[in-house]
C-alpha cells in the first residue's frame, strides 16, 4: 500500500530516529511511504490558539498537496500533526462553508479525499496482527514494556476514530504480536504537557514525572511511544526530573517502530538508537542487540 508521508517538523529534525525506524519498518512490511510534496508545518499548537481559520488552513495546505499528488491516504507519525490534520479534515467535512473558505485560500482546491492515519493504524490496517509475527528474527520476550500512547492519538474519539479512547491497545497488540510483553497500566493516555515545553518546562517535568513513575510502579523496563513530542519529554527530561523530584528513573523510551525494527532484525544504528538520551543498553543487554 502507498501512503503520503507527512514527517512534520520533528521527524525532520530532532526525531530523526523515529523517521529512520519508521521508514525501515514500513519498508520491511511492504508499506510504501512518499513524502508529501512541499509540506508545511501543521501549526500545532499555536495556530489554533490564534485563529480557528488558520488552524484549519495550515494543515489543509499539506493535505491538498497530498491530494494533488494522487494520494487518498496520508500517514503522520507525530500526534500533533496527526491531530491537526484529522481535525482539519473532520471540520471541513462537517462544515461546507468552512471548507469553501479554506479552498478560497488554497492554491489547489482540497476535496477532502485524503484519509489521515497514524502509522499504528496503517500497520494494523495493512498488515494486520496475524501477519506481524511472521518476520520476527529476534525475541524480546521477558522485557516489560509500557506502551504510552499520549493524549491525542485517540482523543477526541469523534475526530480520531481509532482504538479505545481511554485505554488503547493498538500498540500493545502490535508489540505483543511480535512476541513482546506489554504491561497493563493506568497512564497510557495521560498528557505529558508537550505544548508547554518551551514556556512552562516545570509543568512538563511535573507531568512526565507522573507518567514515568506510573510506568515504574507497574515494573516497566522500557517505555514504547508513538509520537516524537512524547518521546522528547519522557526521554530527555529524566535528568531534570531527577534534579527536581530526587527520583531517577533511567527508563529507556523507544519508539514502537524501533522495537519492531529490532525484532525484524535491523541494526540498532539503522534505527537511530544512538540518538536516545537514556541509553537502552542495560535494558536490552541480554538480547544481544547493541
Amino acid at each position: 500500500m502507498r501512503y503520503a508521508y507527512f514527517p512534520g517538523c520533528s521527524l525532520s529534525a530532532s526525531a530523526q530516529d523515529y523517521d529512520m525506524s519508521l521508514k525501515w519498518v514500513c519498508r520491511f512490511l511492504g508499506i510504501e511511504l512518499q513524502e508529501v510534496r512541499d509540506w508545511v508545518c501543521c501549526g500545532a499548537s499555536s495556530a489554533h490558539a490564534t485563529s480557528h481559520l488558520l488552524s484549519v488552513a495550515i494543515p489543509a495546505i499539506s493535505l491538498s498537496h497530498a491530494e494533488q499528488s494522487g494520494f487518498d491516504q496520508l500517514t503522520a507519525p507525530c500526534l500533533a500533526c496527526l491531530s491537526r490534520m484529522k481535525t482539519a479534515n473532520q471540520q471541513m467535512g462537517a462544515d461546507q462553508a468552512l471548507k469553501q473558505k479554506i479552498n478560497d485560500l488554497l492554491e489547489d482546491e482540497y476535496q477532502g479525499t485524503v484519509q489521515v492515519l497514524h502509522p499504528l493504524e496503517v500497520i494494523l490496517k495493512d498488515v494486520g496482527l496475524d501477519s506481524l509475527g511472521k518476520g520476527v528474527q529476534k525475541r524480546l520476550s521477558g522485557l516489560k514494556v509500557a506502551c504510552y500512547y499520549g493524549c491525542v492519538l485517540t482523543r477526541p474519539p469523534k475526530v480520531c476514530q481509532f482504538d479505545n479512547t481511554e485505554y488503547p491497545m493498538s500498540m500493545d497488540n502490535i508489540l505483543r504480536s511480535v512476541g513482546m510483553e506489554t504491561l497493563d497500566w493506568a497512564y497510557k493516555t495521560e498528557c505529558c504537557g508537550v505544548s508547554m515545553t518551551l514556556t512552562r518546562a516545570d509543568m512538563v517535568v511535573h507531568l512526565a514525572h507522573k507518567i514515568l513513575r506510573a510506568a515504574k510502579e507497574v515494573g516497566a523496563d522500557v517505555i514504547a511511544v508513538c509520537c516524537p513530542l512524547c518521546h522528547a519529554n519522557l526521554d530527555m527530561r529524566q535528568n531534570q526530573i531527577a534534579d527536581r523530584y530526587g527520583e531517577r528513573f533511567d527508563i529507556p523510551v523507544l519508539y514502537f517502530t524501533q522495537f519492531l525494527g529490532i525484532v525484524y532484525g535491523a541494526y540498532s544504528r539503522e534505527l537511530g538508537f544512538h540518538r536516545l538520551m537514556v541509553s537502552p543498553e542495560r535494558a536490552l543487554e541480554n538480547y544481544g542487540i547493541l
Binding site: C9, R37, D38, A49, H52, T199, R200
Partner: protein, 189 residues
C-alpha cells in the same frame, strides 16, 4: 454570598464564544469531570468547570485574568469526557483568539505563552516549518531567561537532535499567502 444578576451584559461573553466557536457553554451543568481529568488543573487559578460557570455568568475579568486559557494543554481530555459534549478546548481556543486578536485586553499572568505562539507562527511563516533551535533561543532571549533548558541543549546537539540552521519548505510561499489572506479576512471582521 455573591449576588449575580443575569442580564444582556452578563450573557455577552457566552454569546461571543458561541458565535466564535459554535459551543454553548450554558449547557454545562457542573459535573466537574473536566476539571478532575485535567492534567494541568493544579496550575489553574480557575478550574475548567469554574471557567464554564464564569463564562455563563459573564465574569469576563475573572476568566481572562486567571490565565487558565494559557495553562490549558489542549490535550482533549475534558472534551472527550464532557457528558454535555461541550468542546471545552475549542471554547478555550476561542478565548485565546479573543486575546490574540486584541479583542480583549486583561492582565495576563502568563504573557510568555501567547508570545511563544506569536513567535512560533512568525517562524512558520518565514520557513514553512519549525526551526526548534531558533524558536527556543529567541523565546528564551525574549523571556530574559536565555539559559532555560540549556542543560538539554548539548546532549541534543551531540545526538544530532537539534539543527543549527533553518530548513525551508518548498510550500512556504503558499503558506505565506494563506496566512496573509487570513490576516486580511480577520482584520476586516
Amino acid at each position: 454570598m455573591m449576588k449575580i444578576e443575569l442580564t444582556e451584559d452578563t450573557q455577552k461573553l457566552s454569546r461571543e464564544i458561541q458565535s466564535l466557536t459554535g459551543e454553548n457553554v450554558n449547557l454545562c451543568y457542573q459535573c466537574r469531570k473536566c476539571s478532575i481529568g485535567c492534567p494541568a488543573v493544579y496550575e489553574m487559578t480557575l478550574k475548567p468547570h469554574e471557567m464554564m460557570r464564569a463564562i455563563q455568568l459573564g465574569l469576563e475579568e475573572e476568566v481572562f485574568q486567571s490565565g487558565t486559557v494559557w495553562i490549558c494543554l489542549s490535550c482533549e481530555t475534558c472534551n472527550t469526557r464532557c457528558p454535555q459534549d461541550i468542546n471545552i478546548v475549542r471554547v478555550i481556543d476561542g478565548l485565546r483568539e479573543l486575546v490574540m486578536s486584541g479583542h480583549v485586553d486583561y492582565f495576563n499572568p502568563h504573557p510568555e505563552i501567547p508570545s511563544m505562539h506569536r513567535l512560533f507562527l512568525k517562524l512558520v511563516e518565514r520557513y514553512g516549518r519549525i526551526y526548534e533551535m531558533g524558536l527556543a533561543l529567541i523565546l528564551n532571549l525574549k523571556m530574559v531567561d536565555p539559559f532555560k533548558d540549556i542543560d538539554m541543549a548539548w546532549p541534543m546537539l551531540s545526538r544530532g537532535k537539534l539543527k543549527l540552521l533553518p530548513h525551508k519548505s518548498g510550500g512556504v510561499e503558499e503558506l505565506r499567502r494563506v496566512m496573509s489572506k487570513i490576516r486580511e479576512i480577520e482584520g476586516e471582521s
